[in-house]
Amino acid sequence: MRHTLAILVENEAGVMTRVTGLFSARGYNIESLSVAPTLDETISRMTLVTRGDERVIEQINKQLNKLIPVIKTEDLSRTSHMERELVLVKVQAKHETRAEVLRMADVFRASVVDVSEESYTLELTGKAGKIDAFLRMLTPLHIIEMTRTGPIGMRRGGKAFAVEEK
């Protein structure tokens, strides 16, 4: 089962290594991981996607919480939540395919962020599935380069996942 975890950590050197080191040392896998500081700059928020059965996920949660700089974790997959991902994709666009690339961008509501004589670079946010579909459609047009962030996620509704729950 795929699980998306939200993790609040102290924003200090070495925390990423502690988290990734935990996963490699215990044989868990990380599908994706994204990190940035929160509004409170002393805290960073990670979104980590992993796979495992109930027991493994329970251990992952407990082991994460055991790391000293980890403040709090939440298994988003157990809540009603949303996930979004961002992709940048550079697609070949020579005379005959230039229009087709733009048409695809239009269909998926992606925006063009860079243009050259031979390529367009497109930006798209959405659920992982939408991004997968977008990339599938662009593949025949020849993708030169692609980078995606991995998902970030948040619980739905008015409550915050924060250090002190309000």
Binding site: A13, G14, G21, A25, E58, Q59, K62, V70, K72
Partner: protein, 566 residues
């Protein structure tokens, strides 16, 4: 007033109430050593290898219940310390290790004696720190002691670059520590405690399984013993838990697991309720998981939530400190009208007595033959009334000591359980003897393990520690040989020593007393001489039956009731 980093180090240790540290100097910690020279708040013990500094700090911590402290230099000093850190981590022993580091502006430059100490020790410590500014030093040291000694205890490393030890800042000792991301729970959830009490009183065949957590928790051992008698329930200890209940308590069934007693393993297999108290269901204990306590509901008390339901599902988890939770539980049991079902318990005890009747630890000591290793341990027990501090290395001798010594008190049994570090014994005994100067400290070791940290005899001599080292000399890496005999058709690949030193002379070369014992009738004399010695260490090189095996034994992959008894 402004202080240097090195002075702050000394001030902080003083405020932490540190009385003893174990260490080895080098370039990166010279400024700290200079301040150590000038102060008289704590003693520094010079060991002969950094691994030993950590083992000695471990031994000191386990006997005293306080935090062990070690200091090593950068690079090789720190890498030598890794085994000792990993050992304390595996056994959850509170230690703080300070390591020197190259100056901050040199870090990452492959500087002389630079090692990525924080990187290397990350998975061998509960937590570690690199101090980057002298202003952070005091708070970091404060946090290090706090983390090492609370919750599930363990080693913490503080890496201090050399320039930080010379930089100055205003010294302010943080009176309190508050780490928002680290809040160990010590009180058990009252609802869970009530449910546990109910389950315990309803059980027909209850079984208490306790471990290292019951020894390290304040009041854990006393309350464990009290709980057993309140419930009239049998108790088994892990290797790490020995001493938490006196060996002659009628409820005690001995150790469980791979080399546990028949009665303990059978009772765990047959019980209908298992209450695990500060124990972590290690694979040496459980054997094949689906055969472990197959008929039991499981209650698990542990400070570390990640120990709970890791290997065996806990029907009722209680996160908290053993001593505190057992107090809650005992109070709750006392409040209840209903009492345990005495008829069911009587039948349960009858069954257990049947298993006890197998006398699984029995061995024959011929009066004129080779000395049996088990016999040596029994005689050590007799000579010390079970009151000595017993420290072991790793191997067969360790298991015989666990099975045959018979412990009366907690914090008197020191062994490397989780990591199984050969070489632990002698250095840990240094720390143990220093923590309890008046106690008799005995190292039970093998001819293999003893050679891994022999150099610490020099430390024992220098500090006049009257440690008794008993080598159960079988000429083999016995535990390896036993496995080769049982599972590799007796192909003794590299488990035999063709060259052993004369251990008695070695002892004398280091300034101690050495005695070789080859006949049974020499044994008691040698032991009583050692027990009377108050100043010099003594090495008894006891030549024992070479191919004796440790029984009972649960073969790898078997369930714990599938024991080989002899």
């Amino acid at each position: 007033m402004k202080l240097t980093g090195a002075q702050i180090f000394v001030e902080c240790l003083k405020r932490e109430g540190v009385e003893l540290i174990f260490g080895y100097p080098g370039g990166a910690v010279l400024s700290i050593y200079d301040e150590i020279f000038k102060q008289n708040h704590f003693r520094h013990v010079l060991v002969r290898h950094e691994q030993s500094a950590l083992h000695a700090a471990n031994g000191y911590a386990r006997v005293s219940g306080r935090c062990g402290v070690a200091i090593v230099t950068s690079g090789p000093g720190a890498t030598n310390a890794v085994t000792g850190l990993a050992d304390s981590y595996a056994d959850s022993v509170p230690t703080v290790c300070f390591s020197g580091q190259v100056p901050t502006n040199m870090i990452g430059n492959d500087a002389f004696q630079e090692a990525d100490t924080v990187g290397i020790t990350r998975s061998a410590t509960k937590h570690n720190f690199l101090v980057k500014r002298v202003e952070d030093l005091a708070i970091t040291i404060r946090q290090a002691f706090h983390i090492a000694t609370t919750g599930r205890q363990g080693p913490v490393l503080v890496d201090i670059p050399k320039d930080i030890t010379n930089d100055t800042c205003l010294f302010e000792y943080p009176e309190t520590v508050d780490i928002r991301s680290y809040k160990p729970v010590s009180q058990g959830h009252p609802g869970q405690v009530r449910r546990a009490a109910k389950m315990l009183l309803e059980a027909e065949r209850p079984m208490i399984y306790s471990g290292g957590g019951a020894v390290s928790s304040v009041g854990g051992a006393e309350r464990l013993t009290e709980l057993a008698s309140l419930l009239n329930a049998p108790v088994t200890n892990t290797l790490m838990g020995l001493g938490a209940i006196p060996c002659d308590d009628p409820h005690f069934l001995g150790m469980l697991g791979m080399h546990g007693t028949y009665e303990a393993n059978m009772a765990v297999t047959g019980c209908d309720l298992l209450i695990a108290i500060g124990a972590r269901f290690d694979d040496r204990v459980t054997g094949r998981l689906d055969g472990f306590a197959p008929n039991a509901k499981v209650i698990h008390i542990d400070v570390d939530p990640s120990s709970i339901s890791k290997n065996i599902h806990a029907h009722l988890p209680i996160v908290g400190d053993v001593g505190i939770v057992l107090k809650q539980l005992i109070d709750e049991l006392a409040r209840r009208e209903t009492k345990a079902d005495t008829n069911a318990l009587a039948a349960w005890w009858q069954q257990i007595d049947g298993w006890r009747g197998r006398d699984c630890l029995h061995f024959e000591q011929p009066s004129d033959g080779k000395i049996k290793p088990q016999e040596v341990i029994r005689r050590l027990h007799a000579a010390t009334a079970g009151e000595a501090i017993v420290v072991t290395d790793v191997g067969q001798h360790q298991m015989w000591a666990a099975q045959h010594y018979g412990f009366r008190k907690p914090r008197r049994w020191l062994t490397s359980g989780g990591l199984g570090t050969m070489g632990y014994g002698l250095p840990a005994a240094l720390g143990a003897q220093m923590a309890a100067p008046d106690a008799r400290t005995i190292v039970i070791t093998g001819d293999g393990s003893f050679q891994m940290c022999t150099q610490e005899l020099a430390t024992a001599f220098q500090y006049k520690l009257p440690i008794t080292v008993v080598i159960l000399n079988n000429g083999y890496l016995g535990m390896v040989r036993q496995w080769q005999e049982m599972f590799y058709q007796q192909r003794y690949s590299h488990s035999y020593f063709d060259a052993l030193p004369n251990f008695a002379k070695l002892a004398e070369a280091y300034g101690g007393i050495g005695i070789k014992v080859e006949q049974l009738d020499q044994l008691d004399g040698a032991i009583s001489r050692a027990m009377a010695e108050r100043e010099r260490f003594m090495v008894l090189d006891v030549i024992v039956e070479g191919e004796e095996n440790v029984y009972p034994m649960v073969p790898a992959g078997a369930a714990i009731n599938e024991m080989v008894l002899s």
